[in-house]
């Protein structure tokens, strides 16, 4: 029996590319969904050539909610696993002053991802199986001055995934929340990040792959982050508000 297809939403990112290669190397067909998806034609050829699987491209705009039902309908097959890697870091400075930009960050990290996963969750539930993966962020566990607009939107997504998992827990559909710490990608290029805490996109892909196999609920990519975030979340607010993390 051939393995079910894996849908990757927001397929243009480094993390998404690593995920596509990981699942393709295990024999899954791949559905890449992104805006201007034709720019991923070289990746499509690459994944298909290296791993001998079918790779299809699908135009998808996470912010254009009206197109989501048609997008799901248009997939060659309903995937067995759907991974949402859509996200936008933005710049905190801009997000503080320009509310249009702030709203775009919030919509890109929360509204869009939550809405498409909600649709897919219903379709998976109806079919009777499936795994949903949301790439959130450790930034969503506590708002910090340096990136709280991004963090707040990821927090919304974390809560959404948690609630969705709770709703579906008695059924066959599973939800995985991924909380990567710092990852070495285009998004973080030029940022001075501590090496010991920095994961490679391939590390994220390996961790997500294991999590979907073992049906884990919430994963961190580097285990050290679980400890770091436990400490950060345990700080009393009157102490936390004076930190600069």
């Amino acid at each position: 029996m051939s393995k079910s297809a894996v849908l990757i939403l927001g397929a243009g990112s480094d993390m998404a590319r690593a995920l596509a290669h990981k699942y393709a190397s295990a024999g899954h067909d791949i559905q890449l969904a992104a805006r201007q998806v034709q720019r991923l034609a070289a990746d499509q050829a690459d994944i298909a050539l290296r791993h001998g699987v079918a790779v299809s491209l699908h135009e998808f705009d996470a912010l254009d909610l009206g197109t989501h039902p048609g997008f799901v309908q248009g997939l060659p097959s309903l995937p067995g696993i759907a991974i949402c890697a859509v996200g936008l870091m933005g710049q905190q400075g801009e997000s503080q002053t320009d509310m249009q930009k702030a709203a775009l960050v919030m919509r890109s990290n929360f509204e869009g991802p939550a809405c498409i996963l909600a649709l897919l969750a219903n379709a998976f539930e109806q079919r009777g199986h499936g795994i949903l993966v949301g790439i959130a962020s450790v930034a969503g566990l506590r708002g910090r001055a340096s990136n709280y607009v991004y963090g707040a939107s990821k927090a919304g997504f974390v809560a959404f995934l948690s609630g969705l998992r709770n709703r579906l827990a008695r059924g066959p559909v599973h939800v995985v929340t991924v909380l990567p710490g710092f990852v070495n990608t285009k998004m973080t290029e030029g940022m001075a990040l501590p090496r010991r805490l920095l994961a490679q996109p391939a590390d994220v892909a390996d961790a997500v792959f294991r999590a979907t196999q073992k049906r884990r609920d919430v994963i961190y990519v580097k285990p050290i982050w679980r400890l770091i975030m436990a400490i950060i979340c345990a700080l009393p607010e009157r102490v936390f508000k004076k930190t600069s993390l």
Partner: protein, 442 residues
């Protein structure tokens, strides 16, 4: 600025690294005026792929684009590693025609250095299997170059050390193979004359290479283990392995965990290692079946082996001496090396075939390659070896070089001046330069 060095970790230079994510971004970098150089996976030993003003890291452009199973032609972006090609295509019965001693080189790097393998005497260099390539020139245009389209640019790009433009895409022909195994035949040569005789008798062997004990003097000077190889057919394999002739070899990957102090590597340890290697090889079986990874890439099993030479880094000396002078030239080189007592763990001798190229390394003759930790003494020895190479009409390999002087380079390399003139005339000279090309006046 980041600190950048080649595989020898010498010299270490400050450079601005840029990593284009798309061909458009690459073309934009090409036009930004002022010299830059493309860099692959950093396996050239010296300063071939470093430009302090702008060094273009090509590793994000690493997609395989097309494969034709009838011709074996693979089209891929230049940042693809040879090891990735093997991982994807050996299970389908294809292998690179030419491979250097590490699979961690990029396609673009292999073309730029026109690398050779253990089959050069019979099948030529890497460039011989490039059907065409797409080159980004100084105006940011992508030019298709082949033996019929822009042929001059094509020829100057094979072995041109990245000094004609940035290699963006390559169409490489792969070799059909029926297993991932090599039938190896090992012969013992008591001295350099016998080693050369064994190579000359083995002209029909697909692969040939010798490990040479560079510390022996007198009658045993140049004692070697000459290793010949052929691709195994399923019939050559033990019955159990025949059903899965491409099964990946089981190998442990070791990391070099620390940088040892440089005194670990001294005359006594190197002599002991060489003697042990020779006697173990001389006693072992003459024929054996070796998996592709151990056969072609024995050192890849130790990630970061370049750290063994300590923090000061190391330099590789690799020259080729033309056939007619080979024995005399090799004797002179070995005499100088053993007199200095500066042998290396791995000294490699190899017969090369004839090749006519604007700047590629190979010529009909014998190539000798050895590593030295960088010290004042070994740098002086290598200058002496340069002079011997020049005396016998030989040349040195740019992909390994980090230290030859401009004068000596031009004396050994009459092709350098015409190559530099070609760069001037084509407009490439102002756009592409490496620390090496500036050092050598290329």
């Amino acid at each position: 600025m980041s600190t950048v060095s080649g595989w020898g970790q010498y010299p270490r230079l400050q450079a601005h690294l840029r990593k284009p994510q798309s061909p458009e971004a690459l073309c934009a970098l090409a036009q930004n005026g002022g010299p830059t150089i493309a860099r692959g996976n950093g396996r050239a030993y010296g300063d071939s792929a470093i430009n302090s003003r702008c060094t273009i890291d090509m590793r994000a452009l690493n997609r395989m684009l097309q494969f034709c199973p009838d011709s074996g032609q693979l089209v891929a972006e230049a940042g693809v590693l040879l090891g990735d090609i093997i991982a994807a295509f050996l299970p389908r019965g294809w292998f690179p025609y030419v491979t250097p001693g590490t699979k961690f080189v990029t396609l673009g790097g292999a073309v730029a250095a026109d690398v050779h393998g253990k089959n050069h005497h019979k099948e030529g260099g890497f460039g011989a299997y490039v059907d065409w390539l797409d080159l980004v020139d100084h105006s940011g245009q992508i030019l298709r170059c082949s033996r019929s389209e822009n042929p001059q640019l094509f020829q100057h790009t094979l072995g041109g050390m990245g000094l004609t433009g940035v290699i963006y895409r390559v169409a490489l022909r792969l070799r059909p193979v029926s297993s991932g195994w090599i039938v190896q035949k090992r012969q013992v040569a008591r001295d350099i004359g016998q080693a050369i005789a064994l190579f000359e008798q083995a002209q029909d062997a697909t692969y040939s290479v010798a490990w040479i004990d560079c510390l022996q003097r007198g009658a045993a000077m140049g004692r070697s283990l000459v290793m010949l190889g052929e691709h195994a057919t399923p019939a050559d394999l033990p019955p159990k392995a025949r059903a899965t002739p491409f099964a990946p070899p089981k190998r442990r990957q070791l990391h070099m965990p620390i940088t040892p102090p440089s005194w670990v590597l001294n005359r006594a340890t190197v002599r002991a290692f060489n003697a042990l290697y020779y006697w173990q090889g001389a006693r072992g079986p003459g024929h054996s079946l070796v998996d592709w990874d151990s056969y072609f890439y024995p050192l890849d099993a130790i990630l970061g082996w370049n750290k063994i030479y300590g923090r000061r880094g190391f330099a590789q000396f690799q020259c080729v001496i033309p056939l007619a002078q080979a024995e005399a030239g090799l004797r002179a080189l070995l005499a100088a090396i053993s007199a200095a007592g500066a042998g290396s763990f791995l000294a490699v001798l190899k017969r090369l075939g004839a090749q006519d190229s604007p700047l590629s390394f190979p010529m009909a003759g014998y190539t000798l390659a050895l590593d030295f930790p960088v010290t004042a003494k070994t740098l002086a020895l290598m200058q002496q070896l340069d002079a011997i190479t020049h005396h016998y009409g030989g040349r040195i390999y740019l992909a390994k070089d980090s230290r030859i002087s401009r004068d000596m380079f031009h004396q050994t390399e009459p092709r350098a001046a015409p190559f530099a003139r070609y760069r001037q005339a084509s407009g490439a000279a102002g756009a592409w330069a490496s620390a090496q090309s500036e050092r050598l006046g290329l």
